[in-house]
């Protein structure tokens, strides 16, 4: 069966991306002299239709049975060329790629050195290609359900789309209510429609949808398995309130001994709640939750003569015996929509956020202007004992964005516009207010943004180009030191209230999700998509998709668009009902396996087990791979002393010739 290898080598110019640095002609000539190479060509764009056609025709006409493409990274176009091989009737795994773009022409300037390196990479690829084996990928059934982590607008939208398509969705939210950040916002830019008014119907839809099972106050604890067949464990944290009995009447919260004494997270600490609380009036589900870290009864075992909430609850819903519950289920796809945290402005001490109560964040401002906020939408501040309406208000943009000193080089994309919106709202509510915006640049790139920015300036809001250097107190006023960089004038601006347009950051506990789902981070620390342009909602882990700000800062329409995109991607395996499992999995040579079980203890997927086989009359144990579970990492093979377990396509006998070729002893 072993047909002599006939290798075709195809060197790509990639326009001038490769050809400008690598002498593609020389590489082609060199390749012609390599063992088993029957043809070597170069072409402007191998990935283009005519480029692929070259390969396909050679396979048919020259009888090629192995193909080496020297072009970009296999992470980019391996699937493309595999498909081309398949279309020409060749096993798609008879392809090997030499990465002469990302890891050669783009990173080396010296044409001679880059060309020599490209030759060696091609030689290594040829030496491996000769020894490649045909593989067939198989398909397994996919579970017709999805897990959505995070029930902000991204998670809700994605869950609704998947559920509307007819598939079961498990929607898991960490906090007691769905809604996420959008629920905290007052109006949305640039249309100024009420955030809650457009969001709450969706929150209710998500909770009531027959295909959505909602877990609030819950966290994903464990994920195992693979696309089509993930096993998920969710921890439903104890609410100490029986949600089947709680009617949301709120009698308990009024009676709580700590009522009005605990800063409310939803109001960014501006409002107060009790130990038993509803995060906000429109919360879904409208069920109360006891804060176990604050509740007197839970922390000290004693609450006066007895917990007053228990007495007050007409439904008898309070249950201090309640415990966390672990729920397990299987899903075919996972969608991550865990959102963002805002930049912590104490990292910029010059703005005095930690020192002056009248320096607040943009998100706090949202709560302050919101009709459902702690002040009922009245913009008031405390000046000493006195409550006053601020007349001089300054906004500072790019706090924690575009700022290398705090490690955030990126633009948060929403602060320019939310600042403009808030400035407008201030002007709306306090018509005689003097409002300044200190900015570096104004980025009004979206639909209707520039128009809105113009409108706000016409309303009398002054934009001053300059990055404040310091904020300090003088009497009852805050003084902003800044240079107007357009006129090169140093200024001191006395104001009542400073709003810091804090940027968006990855969730502080993003690490947990990373470890749970094997995600990567991009340099900005947000979750990394599989490809920045072409696979923006996929991740390196098949079957796991990203939506919303966990992938990078974005506004609401972009978040919703991405959520719908991620939902559509997640629906592919669900709707097909089948997923292909990788063919590049490990294989055991039972004749040499000594049954030591090292691979069994190494395998992170429990894909290997020891089975008893009859070896010439002796019953011996050998390893066996469950191909549906194996992910092909090959950790087993490096731990096998007899090299009896080997990942297909990455076998020792395929890698050692690569080493020899690169070492130069081929």
């Amino acid at each position: 069966m072993t047909e002599k290898p006939k290798v075709g080598v195809y060197v790509c110019h990639c326009g001038i991306n490769i050809a400008a640095t690598v002498d593609v002609e020389a590489v082609t000539e060199y390749a012609k002299g390599l063992p088993n190479v029957v043809i070597a060509r170069n072409y402007a764009y191998m990935c283009s239709d005519p480029g692929q056609l070259l390969i396909k025709e050679d396979i048919k006409e020259k009888g090629l049975n192995r193909v080496v493409v020297a072009s970009c990274s296999p992470r980019m176009h391996e699937p493309t060329f595999r498909k081309a091989l398949q279309e020409a009737g060749l096993n798609p795994y008879f392809l090997e790629m030499a990465n002469i773009r990302e890891q050669c022409s783009w990173v080396h300037e010296d044409r001679e050195a880059a060309t020599e390196k490209a030759k060696q990479l091609v030689a290594a690829a040829v030496s491996k290609a000769r020894l490649l084996e045909p593989l067939t990928s198989r398909e397994v059934d996919a579970e017709p359900s999805a897990l959505v982590i995070g029930a902000g607008i991204a998670g809700i939208q994605a869950a609704l789309d998947i559920a509307d398509a007819g598939f079961k969705v498990y929607l898991v939210e960490k906090s007691p209510s769905v809604g996420g950040r959008m629920a905290q916002l007052d109006k949305t830019f640039p249309t100024l429609d009420c955030s809650a008014c457009i969001l709450t119907p969706k929150m209710v839809d998500a909770a009531n949808h027959p295909n959505i099972e909602l877990f609030t106050y819950s966290e994903v604890e464990e994920v195992s398995g693979y696309i089509g067949n993930f096993e998920v464990k969710v921890r439903k944290k104890a609410r100490y309130v029986d949600v089947s009995k709680c009617t949301g009447c709120g009698a308990c919260a009024k009676e709580c001994r700590l009522a009005g004494r605990i800063p409310n997270e939803f109001d960014e600490g501006l409002g107060k709640r009790g130990a038993i609380y509803l995060p906000f009036p429109q919360a879904v589900p409208a069920k109360y939750t006891i804060d176990p870290e604050k509740c007197l009864f839970l922390t000290r075992g004693k609450c006066g003569k007895g917990p007053k909430c228990v007495e007050a609850c007409p439904a008898g819903a309070i249950d201090f015996e309640q415990e966390d519950e672990i729920v397990s289920f299987r899903v075919g796809a996972i969608l991550v929509a865990t959102g963002f945290d805002v930049f912590d402005p104490t990292k910029k001490p010059e703005y005095g956020y930690a020192d002056y109560p009248n320096v607040i964040t943009g998100l706090e401002m949202e709560r302050l202007v919101s009709a459902s906020g702690p002040t009922g939408g009245n913009i008031v501040i405390h000046n000493g004992e006195e409550e006053i309406v601020p007349k001089d208000i300054a906004f500072i943009q790019c706090v924690g964005s575009r700022d290398k000193s705090v490690g955030n080089e990126y633009c948060s994309r929403v602060c320019c516009m939310y600042t403009a919106k808030q400035a407008h709202l201030v002007k709306d509510k306090i018509p005689d207010a003097r409002v300044r915006v200190y900015y570096m640049d104004v980025r009004a790139f979206g639909k209707g943004f520039e128009e809105f920015y113009d409108r706000v300036r016409r309303e009398g809001i002054r934009y001053v180009r300059g990055n404040p250097s310091e904020i300090f107190r003088r009497g009852n006023k805050l003084v902003i030191k800044v240079e107007d960089t357009l006129t090169a004038t140093p200024l001191e601006d006395e104001v009542d209230l400073v709003v810091l347009a804090v940027g968006l950051e990855p969730r502080r506990d993003a690490r947990k999700i990373i470890e749970l789902l094997r995600l990567s981070q991009s340099p900005d620390r947000f979750f990394l998509e599989a490809h920045p342009k072409l696979r923006p909602v996929d991740t390196a882990t098949d079957g796991v998709y990203l939506a919303g700000c966990c992938q990078g800062p974005k506004d609401i329409p972009d978040t919703v668009a991405q959520a719908k995109g991620a939902a559509a991607s997640a629906l592919i395996p669900l709707a097909r009902g089948k997923v292909a499992i990788d063919a590049q999995v490990a294989e055991v040579n039972e004749a040499t396996c000594r049954g030591c079980g090292f691979c069994v203890s190494i395998c992170p997927y429990s894909a290997i087990e020891l089975v008893t086989v009859n070896r010439m009359g002796h019953m011996v144990e050998v390893a066996r791979v469950n191909e549906a579970l194996c992910k092909g990492c090959g950790s087993c093979s490096a731990g096998c002393l007899s090299d009896s377990i080997q990942p297909r396509s990455f076998r020792d006998r395929q890698i050692l010739p690569q080493i020899a070729a690169l070492g130069g002893t081929r």
Partner: protein
């Protein structure tokens, strides 16, 4: 001849972090020495430490292995195994007198294009300082 010695370095990179990080260095056009030649494996856990011995025997003056940071492994644990195995190999090589500068290992994530450049530069500088490793070359059998 005072031409500087150009060491030959073979690197083993995991597909998900370090190879992606090296690709990112490419897309970002971050320049680094051409002495490094990469073999892609799916996981640093796939790197049989004997690959290193073999590479040194077959013409490498230095070897670099790079994987995901601990906790970031696409396969959850592969890099932990790699770390343990390659530490043993490193000890062994040093003990028999192989210049420690011939062996480097790094964690480079998919976002660390700049770190990849630094790692390569160090590996190349190290191997250059260690000089050609001819003593251990496999003898070619000429019949």
């Amino acid at each position: 001849m005072s031409e500087q010695f150009e060491p030959n370095i073979v690197a083993f990179l995991c597909n998900w972090c370090s190879y992606a990080g090296a690709d990112l260095a490419g897309t970002s056009r971050i320049q680094y020495p051409a002495n490094i030649k990469v073999i892609r494996v799916m996981c640093s856990g796939r790197v049989n430490p004997l690959f290193v011995v073999n590479a040194l025997q077959q013409g490498a003056d230095g070897v670099l292995i790079s994987g995901c940071h601990p906790g970031d492994c696409h396969y959850m644990e592969g890099n932990f195994y790699a770390r343990r195995r390659l530490k043993l190999l490193k000890e062994l090589l040093e003990y028999i007198g192989v210049d420690p500068r011939r062996f480097n290992m790094s964690w480079v994530s998919a976002s660390e294009g700049h770190k990849w450049k630094e790692v390569v530069e160090k590996a190349v500088e190290d191997a250059r300082a260690a000089g050609p490793f001819n003593q251990f070359r496999r003898r070619q059998i000429g019949w």
